[in-house]
């Protein structure tokens, strides 16, 4: 079957750097850090205090009270990002389009706030019942369902959960469906709201959270910083987008997946190498054509060194011509939303010819010998960019983006 080229025609995002794409992009370009003391949860009994929360977020600005009752914070973020992305796309709904549009969302932990509140009722307050809307709030597919209902989208709608790779898997599979002519449009991305005491305690016990901030690829990096938010992309066949005169931000050119089959928490070099190679092969792109990588770059000692080795293995001598940055240094690690925020960052970077930096960078690490665009955004016209997501469990998902008009 002939593969169609796939355009990105709409973008939406909400995260610690802002509640829409222009705010998000401004923060990225300025190298702002959205990381600060966690406010939504009492963290006085926690070993870490900082996170990348969406501050000043008031759901009443976006939802009427009956819908607020039904949507956990993570589902609200999904809907808000989808609204912005669809508005941006200028897509005009017809009955046919509603039937041939897909919604594919990623989420790692679903409705944590609702779950934590229910458990608190039972185990701490000793009450005998939890809120009757707990299940519809908690289920990880709630975000995708609410997008489907709000816009009357009746095509394939689903959520997938592959921890920190969820959104890249979601965008990649939506890209496949559009490319294979299974659907005529897709809304794809991810959302997450992991700031509940129960989940923060679980991350604390994992001992991978930095006590200060997220410094990917720095020698003195001490771990990741959790983030939250949502981001969505509207994908359409390139020809159809051109025909309707849509504004095309960029193209998605390829997608690759692999599994390490190695360890539930320790990354390997080989798995990411195979995913990056598969994505480049799918895009029909030589490593030498790539100019920018939005790294997984969590800021843990293990990930950044392993990812660096994988990049060197795939790109060889060309690695020295590559700019590689981790925007998690600014928006934190939003788990199932991470790949979607990074896909928006990568798309706008290609469109604007500006590469977002790795913020909070202090000292180079010989184990991370990459050009990490330290602290300052950089002007650069790039044709192809790669966005990496690697998850606990060894699940790797890599997207290749192409600047439009190149």
């Amino acid at each position: 079957m002939r593969q169609r080229r796939v355009a990105v025609t709409g973008l939406g995002a909400i995260c610690a750097l802002g509640q829409n794409v222009p705010e998000f992009w401004k923060g990225l370009c300025e190298g702002q850090s959205g990381i600060g003391p966690i406010e939504s949860v009492d963290v006085s009994g926690l070993r870490f205090q900082n996170g990348a929360e969406v501050r000043g977020y008031d759901p009443a600005c976006y939802f009427d009270s009956s819908r607020m009752d039904l949507l956990d914070r993570f589902a609200q973020f999904a809907v808000l990002a989808a609204r912005e992305a669809l508005r941006d796309s200028g897509a005009v709904w017809t009955p046919e389009l509603r039937e041939t549009t897909a919604v594919v969302c990623g989420s790692s932990v679903g409705g944590q706030n609702a779950q934590d509140a229910g458990f608190r009722e039972l185990y701490k307050l000793g009450r005998g019942r939890v809120h009757p809307l707990s299940i519809p709030r908690i289920m990880a597919n709630a975000g995708a369902c609410h997008i489907s209902m709000e816009f009357g989208i009746t095509g394939p709608v689903y959520t997938l959960s592959t921890a920190c790779s969820s959104a890249n898997h979601a965008i990649g599979l939506a890209f496949r469906m559009v490319g294979n002519s299974e659907v005529e449009m897709a809304i794809a991305g991810g959302s997450e709201a992991p700031f509940s005491l129960g989940l923060l305690k679980a991350w604390e016990a994992m001992r991978v959270i930095a006590p200060d901030t997220c410094r990917p690829f720095s020698r003195d990096r001490r771990g990741m910083i959790l983030g939250e938010g949502g981001a969505m992309l509207v994908l359409e066949p390139l020809e159809a987008a051109r025909a309707r005169g849509a504004h095309i931000h960029a193209e998605i050119a390829g997608f690759g997946m692999s599994s390490d089959a190695h360890h539930i928490a320790q990354p390997s070099v080989e798995g990411p190498v195979r995913a990056m190679r598969a994505a480049l092969r799918d895009a029909g792109v030589h490593p030498q054509q790539v100019g920018y990588i939005n790294a997984h770059g969590t800021g843990t000692p293990g990930n950044d060194a392993t990812e660096t080795r994988a990049i060197h293995e795939v790109f060889g001598a060309h690695t020295h011509q590559l700019a590689v940055s981790s925007t998690k240094s600014m928006h934190g690690h939003a788990l199932g939303a991470a790949g979607a925020l990074e896909a928006v960052a990568t798309t706008v970077a290609l469109r604007e010819g500006i590469l977002p930096p790795t913020a909070n960078f202090t000292t180079p690490d010989p184990e991370c010998n990459l050009d990490v665009v330290p602290n300052q955004a950089r002007q650069a016209k790039v044709e192809f960019a790669v966005s990496n997501s690697f998850a606990f469990g060894g699940l790797n998902a890599v997207l290749v983006f192409r600047a439009h008009g190149s």
């Binding site: 070993r47 539930i264 928490a265």
Partner: protein, 89 residues
Amino acid sequence: MNDSVAEKVVRALASVKHLPRERITLESSLQDLGFDSLDLITMLFELENEFDISIPDDEARSVSRVRDIVEGVKRLLAATSTDLAAPAD
């Protein structure tokens, strides 16, 4: 050696890795015992529960031999009892 602490540490390590206690000596390294990153965090959790202490991440990263762990636990226990003994002024 005082060695209810050492004894308890060895017991915790043995339980995490499902090893016979005789295999673990003060000179054993966690690497020799086959500990990976998940075994390490599980061990820290067991020790925190056993001794009612909080082991900071930085301290946790620096240990490699069983002896280091026993000494680290004793140091944290001593710090805790000093805190308790300090006058509340």
